[in-house]
């Protein structure tokens, strides 16, 4: 299958190059908030929401502001500031107009500002030379992949909390081994649809 078709981009970003388990981006939040199913779902939803907005805005800034004025070297600084400002804005908007949604994912929004996945996707959209539609599909795939992985991981970690684990492995080490096995499973998607 053509790797630039929209469906190809979606599958590749969702499963084959899963952002957490294969590309190792945004691991801090992966290990930090995946203790409980409920928080993982909230975090996943918040990531999808923020990432879609942030990618759209940073794509527009890059191609309509930085490229025409020959300011490409300001990419890093402008993207991170845009994303930080955007998250603040979204938080204020949700608090005022959509309080139910704010209660569901409000506390996760500030965390996402420093979530490297959001910035990484903004950069990758540019690095891969995606057009606007492609970059939106790619962003959705990545963020849905993040949600998928973190929810699966939280399900396993809830069980591990009840299991007898050797003393030296308690806490993070066993979580890393679990992540390793999951990553192995996701490697199995390689070659799916000839991608």
């Amino acid at each position: 299958m053509d790797s630039t078709s929209l469906f190809g981009i979606l599958i590749a970003s969702l499963l084959i190059n899963n952002i957490l388990l294969i590309r190792f981006i945004a691991l801090c939040s992966f290990f930090g908030v995946s203790n409980q199913m409920e928080t993982s779902i909230g975090m996943g939803m918040a990531v999808i929401f923020v990432m879609m907005m942030a990618s759209a805005v940073s794509w527009l800034i890059y191609y309509f502001l930085l490229v025409p004025f020959d300011l490409v070297y300001l990419r890093t600084a402008s993207f991170i500031l845009t994303i930080a400002a955007l998250v603040q804005l979204e938080e204020m908007y949700l608090k005022k107009y959509v309080p139910t949604l704010y209660r569901a994912m409000g506390i996760y929004l500030p965390l996402i500002t420093t979530n490297c996945a959001v910035l990484a996707v903004a950069f990758l959209n540019i690095d891969y030379n995606y057009n606007f539609m492609q970059s939106m599909v790619y962003t959705f795939g990545v963020s849905a992949g993040y949600t998928l992985a973190i929810i699966l991981f939280a399900g396993i970690r809830e069980r591990i909390a009840l299991a007898p684990v050797p003393k030296a492995l308690q806490g993070y080490p066993i979580a890393f081994f679990t992540a390793s096995l999951m990553s192995l499973a996701f490697l199995g998607f390689k070659g799916l649809f000839g991608l």
Binding site: L27, C28, T76, I80, L81, A84, A168, L187
Partner: protein, 199 residues
């Protein structure tokens, strides 16, 4: 004495990766070989030291409410610098590290040290803190890279170590190997800490 502490604490006692659990993404992602790990460690340390120095210098005039955006601008200046220098002089390494070079800007170690240390301490202490933390980070990422390269490819820093009959375990270079290696390192650390506590 305290200056020495500022420098040493980052290497083992408060090692950013193994103890503070920050900066995990680059540690795992670019540590498939020792050279990549070392390159990443140096790049991040450079940014860390420079931003610590500048933040410690301007901290007296920085209003409390907008300190985070100011930190981010300072950090991203140095990241952009690193990005372009690497692209110009080490294109092969730059290609290997890829998107992780600009991502140094959101590396939690750098913003974390700016907020927790450089904003509260003088220039000299902050410089030493930056060097210590950078060294601790470089050490861990290079060791993980060396372990993965050794088992996964039979080489260290590109030099062949084992005899030709050695069958490399490719899995160590692939993503799962990164998780296993850091998990094992942490388990060893826990084991020895527990032993020390019992004594």
């Amino acid at each position: 004495m305290s200056l020495k502490n500022d420098f040493l604490s980052g290497i083992i006692k408060e090692n950013p990766v193994l103890v503070l659990m920050i900066g995990l993404c680059p540690t795992l992602a670019v540590s498939s070989t020792a050279v990549n790990g070392f390159g990443m460690g140096i790049a991040a340390s450079f940014v860390l030291v420079c931003s610590n120095i500048v933040i410690a210098m301007v901290r007296k005039w920085t209003p409390d409410q907008i300190r985070i955006p100011i930190f981010i601008i300072i950090i991203s200046t140095f990241v952009t610098l690193t990005d372009y220098v690497m692209q110009a002089y080490y294109p092969a390494l730059y290609k290997q590290l890829g998107v992780f070079v600009p991502l140094i800007v959101v590396n939690c170690i750098i913003l974390g040290r700016a907020e927790a240390f450089a904003y509260k301490n003088g220039v000299l202490s902050s410089t030493l803190d930056g060097f210590g933390m950078g060294l601790g980070f470089t050490l861990v990422i290079t060791v993980i890279g060396a372990i993965r390269e050794l088992i996964g490819n039979g080489t260290i820093f590109g030099k062949v170590v084992f005899n030709p009959e050695f069958q490399p375990a490719l899995i160590m270079i692939l993503p799962p190997g990164g998780f296993i290696t850091i998990g094992l390192l942490m388990a060893f650390l826990h084991y020895f800490q527990n032993k020390a506590k019992e004594k």
